[in-house]
């Protein structure tokens, strides 16, 4: 009886150790690590284009999807080969400081402001984003912000500034910072009846819309430009420069751009390629 217990105990211990050892074995296949944003990941774009790239080159692309701020920070630490985000000013600073080799435009999508169907602030149908924001502030309609230093958050803060509104004064009042990703902010915001600035891609793919609709769209200032950068191999020698550059070249090539344009959700194109040909 006792021997059986001992056997089962040592078996489970051995099994556990074996699993621990096995976990360390990486796939033999070549792969690169891309630091990117939740908006691209959540929209499903990567699931669409990465298999195409892998089929062509045999290179596996592993995506870490976090907020743009965290993605840039991780890339600065050398934890990634390619940075693929949407915060142009921060990206240019990243390159200027020597963390990245060079930056290229890849594509854009646009931001929209979504709100409840009954539109308590009366902004539905507006296409002047700063006027719409001013109206929201005037009505003190609840507004859910990412508040996480992401690209979307930065874009939102630029727009508030352009509208001449100090949202910090309203923080905790009608202006609510969730401090989380786009999807989480959409979940939270729709739950409290707030207006939310979101990228269109995430919005279309979002599965928990409730009675929410797009209230404001179409302003040029709502365009959201994505850039791609190779992490500087001179600063971080382990960066897989060749494979990383191959991915960047492909994304910017006709094939890559066509793949981006070809990604549709519910028949709608989410991203508009605009690499310099």
């Amino acid at each position: 009886m006792r021997r059986r217990h001992m056997l089962s105990l040592s078996l489970s211990l051995a099994l556990g150790t074996a699993l621990a050892l096995g976990a360390g074995t990486a796939k033999a296949q070549e792969f690169i690590l891309v630091q990117s944003t939740t908006s691209t990941q959540n929209s499903g774009l990567f699931d669409h284009i990465l298999p195409l790239f892998q089929a062509e080159t045999g290179i596996e692309v592993r995506v870490v999807a976090v907020g743009t701020g965290q993605a840039i920070k991780n890339a600065e630490n050398g934890d990634g080969d390619v940075l693929f985000v949407h915060a142009k000013a921060a990206e240019e600073k990243f390159v200027a400081e020597g963390h990245g080799v060079s930056r290229a435009d890849v594509m854009y999508n646009d931001f929209v402001i979504v709100g409840p169907a009954n539109d308590p602030a009366g902004v539905a149908g507006m296409n002047d984003v700063t006027a719409a924001l001013a109206k929201l502030a005037g009505a003190e309609a609840p507004f859910a912000s990412r508040g996480d230093d992401s690209g979307t958050h930065k874009a939102e803060l630029r727009l508030w500034k352009a509208a001449g509104i100090d949202v910090q004064a309203a923080s905790g009042g009608w202006y609510r910072e969730t401090g989380s990703g786009m999807g989480a902010t959409l979940n939270t915001g729709t739950g409290m009846g707030a207006y939310i600035l979101t990228d269109r891609a995430t919005w279309i793919a979002f599965g928990n819309k409730g009675d929410y609709q797009i209230a404001v769209e179409g302003d040029e200032r709502l365009f959201n430009q994505y850039g791609i950068i190779l992490v500087n191999p001179e600063r971080h020698p382990h960066v897989k420069a060749e494979a990383g550059q191959a991915f960047i070249d492909w994304v910017l090539s006709g094939d890559g751009q066509a793949a981006i344009a070809g990604y549709l959700v519910d028949g709608q194109q989410l991203f508009f390629p605009n690499a310099e040909g």
């Binding site: 105990l9 489970s12 211990l13 556990g16 870490v64 979002f206 599965g207």
Partner: protein, 235 residues
């Protein structure tokens, strides 16, 4: 608007439509968590037994430290391991960041204090009963630890279970050090977080149900084993 009933039904539908992708996620979750718990036991059981069975200077401080570490937030552990394993960190050369190994390391750090602190309690109680007899036998320190751990094995199963529960359910640490990379480091909890953020609440719920189911199965197994031990007065 949604109805909870509909959503639950859809979630169960998703579970029934089990596919390979789902299997891979579940298997990776178990692999990471079981490995972490096994390693945590390897460290935490002897550590807890030493603190539980012996008096030495600093023993009180050690117990307080262990008990405090039990409440370590997973995100803090994740951050710590990230800073260690980051390419710019001291262990960056190992290139372990964003691998299952990194997740195992983070969860091991998370779980070890729990295992050690609970083991200390179990062993201390048992040692109170055995101490005089051991002294009479002249049992060496080493043999004493081994014997206490062995005789407390069924109580310690519950301890391991507590560690398993914490590890399998945590998302903060594995998200940071694993990166939630599809097909590489995506586990149940990070998938739940991701699908929730995508608004795919049915899928998130389905994964939650699976997670719960696994926890129930593991717990029931251990409890059954323990119950047989209690009947034999081994626990």
């Amino acid at each position: 608007m949604f109805s909870f009933g509909d959503m639950m039904a859809e979630a169960l539908g998703l579970i029934l439509a089990w596919d390979r992708e789902l299997s891979a996620i579940v298997v990776l979750s178990l692999r990471v968590t079981l490995s972490a718990v096994a390693l945590a036991c390897l460290i935490g059981l002897p550590l807890g037994a030493l603190i539980g069975a012996f008096r030495f200077p600093g023993r009180g401080a050690a117990s307080v430290a262990l008990n405090a570490l039990m409440g370590l937030p997973p995100v803090v552990v994740g951050l710590f391991v990230y800073l260690m394993l980051s390419a710019s960190g001291p262990l960056g050369v190992l290139q372990l960041l964003y691998t299952p190994t990194a997740m195992i390391i983070a969860q091991t750090i998370l779980v070890t204090p729990i295992i050690a602190a609970l083991t200390k309690q179990v062993v201390e109680d048992l040692h109170g009963e055995y101490a005089e007899q051991f002294a009479s036998f002249g049992v060496s320190a080493r043999a004493r630890v081994v014997a206490l751990l062995w005789d407390a094995r069924y109580s310690l199963l519950t301890v391991a279970l507590a560690g398993f529960g914490r590890a399998v359910a945590e998302v903060g640490a594995v998200l940071i050090v694993g990166g939630n990379i599809n097909h590489v480091t995506r586990v149940m909890t990070t998938t739940i977080a991701l699908e929730t953020s995508k608004g795919n609440l049915q899928l998130a719920l389905a994964l939650g149900v699976i997670l719960l189911g696994l926890a129930v199965v593991v717990n029931a197994g251990v409890m059954a084993l323990r119950a047989s031990a209690v009947r034999a007065a081994y626990a």
